[in-house]
């Protein structure tokens, strides 16, 4: 019953959020601030993790492929496929669920317990629209940019690992990156990213918006936002993969 109540509340909140903003100028300003807070401020962590993961994938693939009949360019191919198909869209989204999701839930949750949301409501403003819509929009626009950035950095990380360790010759790695490329795999990655971005911002916004109590509940809502978003990301990863790649 609680699950159904939560789903009902979530849908109702989204219907309130997805309305025409009261003032376009204010919405654009909020959107810019959220681009900064949710997107630009995540570049560092995305860059470091992607670069190192690309390098690690290259080394691990090389370590597991000591058969002389397997071509060296399979390492570049493996790095590219793993980064595009799974690592960048899914794992980076899970990381963003932790970083961005907790930030959204705690920000909105604190506004709830300090009556700032009530203040918006009694001013005649739609608080869900004012607070949540810019965050969802910013995430759905900015996360694909972050994921493309992550893919390129992952490939660069693999290249750096090959260059530094001499696992495979650089031309073989580059040839692997360019071999058997399916453009649809990038479309698939971007579709997943946009869905995951919606999940992160909407679920975290919902968890923050419905907080009741004080600082302990805000912390709990923040944790729930991360856990629920992560579980939904994995679930939708499976569903979208089945729908788009099978």
């Amino acid at each position: 019953m609680k699950f159904l109540k939560d789903v009902g509340e979530f849908v109702s909140l989204m219907l309130q959020a997805f309305r025409r903003p009261d003032k376009g100028k204010v919405f654009r300003r909020q959107l810019m601030m959220d681009f900064q807070a949710l997107g630009t401020n995540s570049i560092g962590i995305v860059a470091i993790i992607s670069l190192f993961t690309g390098a690690i994938i290259a080394i691990q693939t090389s370590y597991n492929m000591d058969n002389p009949f397997l071509s060296d360019n399979l390492i570049g191919f493996s790095v590219r496929q793993m980064m595009i198909l799974e690592f960048s869209p899914t794992i980076i989204s899970l990381i963003l669920a932790g970083k961005v999701g907790s930030s959204i839930a705690s920000e909105i949750g604190t506004m709830r317990v300090t009556e700032q949301i009530d203040a918006l409501k009694v001013m005649g403003i739609n608080p869900a629209n004012y607070l949540i819509l810019p965050k969802i929009t910013a995430s759905m626009i900015y996360n694909p940019v972050l994921i493309i950035f992550s893919i390129f950095l992952g490939l660069a990380g693999g290249w750096a690992a090959c260059y530094v360790t001499g696992l495979v010759p650089i031309p073989a790695y580059v040839e692997g990156l360019r071999s058997w490329f399916e453009p649809f795999s990038v479309t698939y990655a971007l579709i997943k990213t946009v869905v995951f971005a919606f999940i992160i911002a909407a679920v975290s916004g919902y968890k923050g918006y419905t907080v009741k109590g004080g600082s302990v509940e805000v912390g709990r809502a923040s944790t729930q936002a991360v856990v629920t978003s992560s579980m939904l990301i994995i679930l939708f990863d499976l569903i979208l993969t089945q729908m788009l790649l099978s």
Binding site: K23, K25, V26, M111, T114, E115, Q116, D118, K121, V122
Partner: protein
């Protein structure tokens, strides 16, 4: 004028307000008083539409318009005529004092930036707050937070001002200043002001119309002079709870 007609409110079957009817008069400071947990804040939240009243005969009428029957979208029109001062101020943490006061102007007017700045400075001067425009809420004192919240509440020249325990957490001197400020603003802007308090000093200083709530029911109504001579036992126990007030009587 705000008319509260037969409103009741329950939470999970437990009645918090029971059949309350009263009138908050225009141009006066109308006080709702009562002990903690008596239902004052619930009554105020019902009046401003943050809580839905129980279904039945209950109505909240703002100058002839039945607010409680309106759908949420139409309530927003009346809400633009309300200013609300929350207990903790409810200032937006990420905005400066100036941005907080300017916020309703940004949302609901087409003023130029210069006009908005002039208006902000004008209301901040009204609440005796100068040279704080660029400070954040975390950088100012509790009394200043209340003043900024009052400035934000009156920025759009509201017809109705609601204040939830405006002087809670303030020292007696600052509390008195806030009371006097609200009272002066009420007269100046001809607002219908409703103040929710359990501070007897406020009651005796600015209580032009007082409604005493006891265990969710309206027990007494009168003004600050009448309250001193009431025979109502529960109200006497509330007003003259301290040795100081008993001696003053």
């Amino acid at each position: 004028m705000i008319e509260v007609k037969n409103i009741s409110k329950s939470f999970d079957g437990q009645k918090v307000l029971s059949n309350i009817s009263t009138v908050f008069e225009k141009g006066k400071t109308n006080l709702i008083i009562g002990q903690s947990g008596s239902g004052k804040t619930v009554l105020m939240k019902c009046c401003i539409g943050l809580l839905d009243i129980d279904e039945g005969e209950g109505k909240i009428v703002f100058d002839g318009n039945c607010f409680s029957d309106l759908p949420e979208k139409k309530k927003r029109v009346t809400r633009k005529e309300m200013g609300v001062l929350f207990q903790g101020g409810a200032l937006f943490d990420s905005f400066t004092v100036e941005e907080n006061v300017m916020f309703p102007l940004n949302m609901f007017t087409k003023m130029s930036l210069e006009e908005k700045r002039d208006k902000v400075n004008s209301v901040l001067t009204h609440v005796n707050l100068v040279n704080a425009n660029n400070k954040f809420p975390a950088e100012i004192s509790g009394g200043m937070v209340k003043r900024v919240a009052i400035a934000r509440a009156i920025a759009l020249n509201p017809k109705y001002l609601f204040c939830d325990e405006p002087n809670s957490g303030l020292d007696p001197k600052t509390a008195e200043l806030i009371d006097v400020l609200i009272s002066e603003l009420t007269e100046e802007f001809k607002m219908t002001t409703v103040i929710n308090t359990h501070d007897i000093n406020s009651v005796l200083q600015i209580g032009q119309k007082i409604s005493y709530i006891h265990e969710g029911e309206l027990w007494w109504e009168g003004d600050k002079d009448e309250i001193m001579h009431t025979e109502n036992k529960e109200l006497n126990e509330f007003v003259f709870a301290t040795e100081l007030t008993r001696r003053a009587k």
